[in-house]
């Protein structure tokens, strides 16, 4: 991220690899649309070709913007994220459109149209971040401000928010309801990255011997970690949002490990979190219920366990290759078998229609996002940027693991969204922002300029 005004800089830089991958991605999505459309129409047809065209156009526009801006940023992230968003769009087109309806003036917009709008906005935000964010001064200098802002947001949601499915996550601003906890993820990661990077030496080198071979970072630097633990468990209790707590704490632990290199600290952190969670489960009924429902949803098949059981049945019906887009999710008495499928269980729906092959492919995409983020971290200019890149990528990846695990009954069900696939404006916008920031962090700087023509005047090299 250098601000250099060399002659002829910035100038458009071609991004052939990204273009190639985008074309492959477009081919995939066209086939997906063909599959869905043909199943729905009973003959060869594309599903919602106009929406697909708009989506691909938005991605092409973002690609062009990056080319024109001349930023040499990562070329793999955009196509992979574009594929995920495209799959989410296909899912939104496949579901009954009246699951979510919004009136905008004379128009009534259904599920797929809204998802498309949010996706395009998300990519716009991402492109803006990728191009415009050129220095991390805003991060280094104001990290405590960010932290305060984040906590303020958290408090605001707790006080003014409304309960959805037992978790208080949503804030209603005018006609739009959004979830500040999504933005909070980014803010907290920004804070962690800055804080941990700056105190890296103390965390890694100036350790205090506690007992035998066990060493811990000195107390002042341990304090924020303890506060973080408390915050995470607090969120579980007060806002009943197990997913966010798990996400914050996991990402924090990963960044802590990257900064301090101490595996022991990570293990201690995990143990403390699990212990704390067990204590919470013993004390608070709603936590206990979640855990009980996770362990045996069949104990209450028509009540608390209904969603989980239906999701598992959907996975089972999908088998290895799936039933095909549009052919699964049998309607019983005119209703979808899985409630809240577009927000909480998109993976189950995709699992049924694309089978295990599709699920593994989608998981692989998230893994690629994480891998690219870590690669950006490894190549980053300094610790702050490294931790920031790692943290942002981990937010997307760990979120995917948590929600996929919840859908598959590997961990208790949580209310967080599957990035780029779940329906949800706040989620899409924030994830778009994250991708934009990752791209910005991956800037390799201007390309080395060509050697000057007058190199015939060779200077003595004193080497």
């Amino acid at each position: 991220m250098t601000q250099v005004d060399l002659p002829g800089f910035p100038r458009p830089v071609a991004r052939p690899r990204e273009l190639g991958l985008l074309l492959a991605m477009a081919g995939c999505l066209v086939l997906g649309s063909l599959s869905l459309g043909s199943t729905q129409a009973g003959g060869l047809a594309l599903a919602q070709p106009a929406e697909l065209a708009i989506y691909l156009g938005a991605l092409a526009a973002m690609h062009l913007a990056l080319v024109v801006a001349g930023r040499r940023v990562d070329e793999v992230l955009l196509p992979v994220v574009g594929l995920l968003g495209g799959i989410g769009l296909l899912l939104a087109e496949r579901l009954p459109q009246d699951l979510v309806v919004q009136r905008v003036g004379p128009l009534t917009l259904g599920l797929a149209s809204l998802q498309l709008i949010w996706l395009v906005l998300a990519f716009a935000v991402g492109a803006a971040a990728a191009i415009a964010v050129r220095s991390d001064r805003w991060l280094r200098l104001y990290k405590y401000t960010w932290a305060a802002f984040g906590l303020g947001l958290l408090l605001l949601t707790f006080v003014f928010g409304r309960d959805v499915n037992g978790s208080r996550l949503t804030l209603d601003v005018g006609p739009v309801s959004w979830q500040p906890s999504e933005l909070l993820k980014v803010i907290l990661v920004v804070f962690f990255a800055a804080y941990l990077a700056e105190n890296r030496v103390q965390l890694a080198d100036a350790r205090v011997r506690v007992a035998g071979p066990l060493t811990l970072p000195p107390a002042p630097y341990l304090l924020p970690a303890a506060l973080m633990l408390a915050l995470a468990l607090g969120i579980v209790v007060i806002q009943r949002d197990l997913g966010a707590a798990l996400l914050f704490f996991s990402v924090f632990l990963c960044l802590f490990y990257l900064a301090s290199g101490s595996k022991v600290d990570v293990v201690i952190g995990i143990v403390l979190f699990v212990a704390g969670f067990i204590v919470l489960a013993l004390v608070f009924a709603h936590v206990r219920e979640r855990v009980a429902n996770w362990l045996d949803p069949w104990a209450d098949p028509l009540g608390a366990g209904y969603q989980t059981i239906q999701a598992l049945h959907a996975f089972a019906r999908g088998g290895l290759l799936g039933t095909g887009l549009g052919a699964g999710l049998p309607m019983v008495d005119g209703h979808l078998p899985i409630p809240a499928v577009q927000t909480d269980f998109p993976l189950a729906a995709l699992g049924e229609e694309l089978g295990m092959a599709g699920v593994v492919a989608i998981l692989a995409c998230y893994l690629v996002v994480v891998a690219r983020g870590l690669r950006i971290a490894a190549g980053a200019a300094d610790d702050v940027r490294a931790l920031l890149a790692a943290g942002l990528a981990l937010v997307i990846g760990v979120q995917a693991i948590i929600i996929a695990g919840g859908n598959l009954k590997l961990i208790p069900l949580t209310g967080i969204t599957l990035p780029f696939i779940s329906y949800g404006g706040s989620s899409l916008l924030v994830n778009g922002l994250i991708v934009g920031l990752l791209l910005a962090l991956s800037d390799r700087g201007p390309a080395p300029p060509a050697a000057p023509r007058r190199a015939r005047r060779v200077r003595q090299d004193r080497s």
Binding site: A316, M331, V359
Partner: protein, 502 residues
């Protein structure tokens, strides 16, 4: 600010940690993928075919059920189109209500219609290749036909012979386990329940009937077996070596008069006074159905011996069968003696079929089949093959439930059972079961129920004794002595069966 370049690459330490973190994340994703594999491959079948699965429910509402046929190809269950175009089930005869059950959009399904629903609806069944091929068909318009081992004629006859009595008949081929008839009375109007026009009325009628027609007595009815159980005692005695063909008890004639004293309890007999002071051996004791002899034989086998043989026969667990079965028991259990008996008194009573013994008619038919099949117990089967709409036949293999008894011992017991029907004294109890021209082997039972009601009338047997092709169990609730209702019913059934053979 640390002295670190802001334009270079990461140093080794962070790079290593990044790699390790990346590997940890990859393992986490791998774990989730394995989780997906668990539900989408390993558990896929039992979830997807579960009756509560949305796909099954949707298919039930849309699919055309396959037909059910008897062993000769007669159609037992088929579909008819009603007003409004919806299809509903029609059954050939009301006597089939127990094995076939019903399929109704209002009341779900029961019997074979429920047990084999996924095959009947074309959801593929348990064969992985069939399932894979089933996915090639867009929601299949037709399900598989079921070929059963039932004989419509025998089933109708069995129900007609039971008449207004409550009871059950189970008839099977001891060589293959094919169930030829599975009758339970009273029957219910399965066609009425399946027809949407009469559904509610027919179901309510069946529910309200005090005779409980919706209960399949043949597989789920639990009864005191009475003397029919002596065959099990005989099997236990021979298998454990406690008795043989020549076994006799010198005290037995005396005990006939005074009663056999077991721990202060008197086992009485009194229904074969004509044997006088004859010391009975195994065959004679079976022929005249001597309680004293059998009580002593049971005591000699011991609780362990009785329990072991009974378990081999299928007691103590549901019998593997197309339809759900109740569990037959020797005793309520919990007692200190081996096998769970409370004391020797209970053991002695159980040995001649009283005590806390409870059996299903299916279990008793299998006992007869075991003896008929030389000591090898056949696995009962109702469905013999699935026929896909395209005509592909996938047969259900026959099998055995294991060897219960050696062939010579089985032959000895078979011989005694022949005497029980055809012998001079045996005829006094069991004449009704005789069929002209065929040697019938069997054993009656008169199960005392306590109280003032008539005892249950039992008969188990097989024919022809030299090379049995049919084994059966008949029970008529409150039918009186075994010879009063059950044996003649069995005789009529066997007569009709052999008359129909080419």
């Amino acid at each position: 600010m640390t002295a670190r370049a802001a334009g270079g690459r990461r140093e080794g330490a962070l790079g290593e940690r990044v790699v390790r973190l990346g590997i940890a994340l990859a393992i986490a994703f791998g774990g989730v993928a394995l989780g997906a594999g668990y539900w989408q491959v390993l558990r896929a079948d039992d979830l997807a075919h579960d009756p509560s699965d949305a796909g099954v429910i949707a298919a039930t509402q849309n699919a055309v059920r396959g037909r059910i046929l008897d062993r000769d190809g007669h159609v037992l269950a088929t579909n008819r189109r009603g007003t409004g175009g919806a299809l509903y089930r029609v059954y050939a005869d009301q006597s089939l209500s127990a094995p076939l059950g019903y399929a109704s959009s209002l009341y779900g399904s029961a019997g074979l219609e429920a047990a084999d629903a996924s095959e009947l609806l074309g959801l593929g069944g348990d064969d992985p290749l069939a399932r894979a091929l089933a996915k090639f068909r867009t929601p299949s318009p037709r399900g598989d036909d079921l070929r059963t081992s039932l004989s419509l004629a025998l089933q109708e006859l069995a129900v007609r012979l039971l008449g207004n009595d409550r009871g059950a008949v189970v008839a099977l081929d001891p060589r293959t386990g094919d169930v030829l008839a599975l009758a339970s009375t009273p029957t219910f109007d399965a066609s009425g329940i399946a027809n949407p026009a009469t559904s509610r009325a027919a179901f309510t009628e069946a529910l309200d009937d005090p005779g409980q027609p919706l209960l399949d007595r043949a597989t789920q009815g639990l009864y005191v077996p009475g003397s029919a159980f002596k065959i099990v005692t005989a099997i236990a005695g021979f298998a454990s070596g406690a008795i043989d063909a020549a076994t006799s008890f010198p005290q037995q004639p005396g005990d006939e008069i005074t009663g056999l004293l077991v721990d202060g309890f008197r086992v009485v007999d009194g229904h074969h006074l004509f044997t006088g002071s004859e010391v009975l051996d195994f065959s004679r004791a079976t022929e005249v159905s001597c309680n004293i002899w059998y009580a002593l034989a049971g005591l000699r086998s011991g609780g362990a011996g009785m329990d072991a043989a009974a378990r081999r026969l299928g007691f103590g667990a549901p019998i593997p069968f197309d339809l759900p079965t109740a569990v037959s028991q020797l005793t309520n259990g919990g007692g200190p003696l081996p096998g769970g008996f409370a004391d020797d008194v209970e053991l002695a009573n159980a040995a001649y079929g009283q005590g806390e013994v409870l059996v299903t008619p299916l279990q008793m038919a299998l006992v007869a089949a075991t003896v008929a099949n030389g000591g090898l117990e056949p696995r009962p089967r109702l469905v013999t093959a699935f026929v896909s709409p395209s005509g592909a036949v996938s047969a259900v293999p026959t099998g055995t439930l294991g060897r219960v008894l050696g062939a010579p011992d089985a032959a000895t017991i078979a011989g005694a059972m022949v005497q029980a029907v055809e012998g001079v004294d045996g005829q006094k109890f069991t004449a009704g079961a005789q069929v002209a021209g065929v040697t019938v082997a069997g054993k009656t039972g008169t199960a005392q129920l306590g109280g003032s009601g008539e005892p249950n009338s039992w008969f188990i047997g097989f024919a022809p004794a030299e090379a049995p092709t049919i084994a059966l169990a008949v029970i008529v609730e409150h039918g009186g002595s075994g010879g009063a209702r059950a044996a003649p019913l069995a005789g009529d059934l066997l007569r009709a069966y052999f008359a129909a053979q080419p």
